[in-house]
């Protein structure tokens, strides 16, 4: 094992010699005769230095100047500094401690005392650094676990949503595609319309939350949900409740680990059938009163519904689906989002074709 290194800084050769000799058995010693050279050595050997023994009064750069320079370079957290003082004057000790020194040795040197002080300082410092490292590692571990917990919660909710989808769809592919369409649109919105203040982190949450948009359908009876014909006005009223029920379900889960995600789930469930001109449901919100997350999922949902086969309709080709959306045949959408859809046309097309190939 390599010996640790000690730097001895003193302008008097005899002091450097005596201290170097006292430590040469257990440590590799380097010396410096003024503060400037000391700082160079500290920078050079910062990863090997166990301690710096630093004289106060020196030409060129005093011990205080060295402490200040070390503080600026964040070196005081790496190496403990032990001051060499002539006389244990309280002013000097106070100033040195204030500047980050941790211990003192006095002249004339009492070698055994100095050896023990230096050893204790080095051990304490190493102990402190180990503890700090431990805290850092534990904190990182907790962060990683928190992330894992979050992801597993996203997945859990997604699994529930998929089970709900199974009632009226043949597979859970709808959710996979909704997430893909949502991501493409959201990224286009982030790029082209900064006023919506989307970030990559928000998009991740919105994408995960999009999976839950129809979770409220769990409360819609089979007779309505699976009816292979147009719904009556009363039946449609019941169908519409899947938005409020979904939001209620999410709220009742009292999901506190990731409240932002929970908020996105709620607004997506509640508002993904709102229309830009106020003709949607359940609230009839107009324009950008509809949260951007719900506006995005709404287009993704409509597009996917059009290109998929449902119990009440056949699948449209993607070109036809685009035409119908732009012509307003599925209700009115935010022109900015239609612009984003246009920019994603090719990617949407490819994703939709994957669907056709499978069925």
């Amino acid at each position: 094992m390599n010996k640790g290194m000690i730097l001895i800084v003193d302008d008097e050769e005899i002091n450097r010699f005596v201290l170097a000799q006292a430590f040469e058995e257990k440590y590799e010693t380097v010396t410096a005769e003024d503060g400037e050279i000391a700082l160079e050595r500290i920078l050079e050997y910062q990863d090997r230095l166990k301690a710096v023994l630093l004289d106060v009064f020196m030409p060129v750069m005093s011990g205080f100047d060295v402490l200040e320079a070390m503080e600026e370079e964040d070196l005081l957290d790496k190496v403990p500094v032990i001051m060499i003082t002539g006389d244990g004057s309280a002013d000097i000790e106070e100033k040195a401690l204030g500047l980050g020194a941790v211990e003192f040795v006095t002249k004339p040197f009492e070698i055994p005392v100095i050896q023990m002080r230096v050893r204790n300082t080095i051990e304490l410092f190493a102990h402190k650094r180990n503890l700090e490292q431990l805290v850092r590692e534990q904190t990182e571990r907790i962060e990683r676990q928190k992330d894992r917990l979050k992801t597993s919660n996203y997945r859990l909710l997604e699994a529930i949503a998929t089970m709900v989808e199974f009632r009226d769809l043949e597979t859970g592919e709808h959710i996979v595609r909704i997430k893909a369409f949502t991501r493409m649109l959201a990224e286009a919105v982030m790029k082209n319309y900064p006023e919506y203040e989307l970030t990559q982190e928000k998009i991740e949450r919105i994408v995960y939350a999009s999976a839950t948009h129809d979770i409220g359908k769990i409360s819609v009876p089979d007779a309505i949900l699976l009816k292979p014909a147009k719904l009556t006005a009363d039946e449609f009223e019941i169908m519409k409740t899947h938005t409020t029920v979904g939001a209620e379900l999410i709220r009742n889960m009292n999901y506190t680990i990731d409240q932002e995600y929970s908020a996105y789930c709620t607004e997506i469930c509640l508002y993904h059938h709102e229309k830009y001109d106020g003709k949607g449901y359940p609230k009839g919100l107009v324009g950008d009163d509809i949260p951007i997350s719900a506006q995005i999922v709404s287009i993704a949902d409509v597009f996917d519904a059009l290109v998929s086969e449902r119990c009440y309709k056949k699948a449209y080709l993607p070109e036809e689906a685009f035409r119908m959306i732009y012509a307003g045949e599925c209700g009115m959408f935010n022109p900015k989002l239609l612009d984003c859809l246009e920019q994603c046309r090719e990617a949407f097309f490819l994703e939709a074709m994957k669907n056709t190939e499978r069925s």
């Binding site: 008097e12 050769e13 005899i14 010699f17 000799q21 009064f57 002539g86 004057s89 004339p108 070698i111």
Partner: protein, 110 residues
């Protein structure tokens, strides 16, 4: 030691290394701080006096030269207060001992 040097304690400090101890004893008399102190005192510059005297004090104590410390230590305290007043007697005493010890050690060790 009759010259006023605490050799035993000082040698401990040198881990028993007599050769190096003797070398540093002689080397002390080449130290520029002695000349600096004289000069600064003539110029009545207490700050420069303090720096030179303070540096010498550390060396003198480490070498066990108690006889020199006797006059030097009170002198350092006077200069520390930012004045040269009252230091003259100590400086004279210090000079006397310094010259005497210097001659004696040169005879003994060279």
């Amino acid at each position: 030691m009759e010259e006023g040097i605490d050799v035993d304690t000082a040698l401990d400090r040198f881990m028993g290394n007599e050769e190096m101890y003797c070398r540093f004893l002689l080397k002390f008399f080449e130290d520029a701080n002695y000349g600096r102190l004289q000069e600064a005192f003539e110029e009545k510059n207490p700050k420069a006096c303090f720096e030179a005297a303070h540096a010498m004090k550390g060396v003198i104590l480490n070498l066990g030269m108690d006889v020199l410390a006797r006059d030097l230590i009170p002198m350092v305290e006077i200069f520390r207060k930012g004045t040269c007043e009252g230091a003259e007697t100590y400086l004279d005493g210090f000079d006397g001992c310094y010259q005497q010890l210097r001659n004696r050690l040169i005879t003994l060790l060279t």
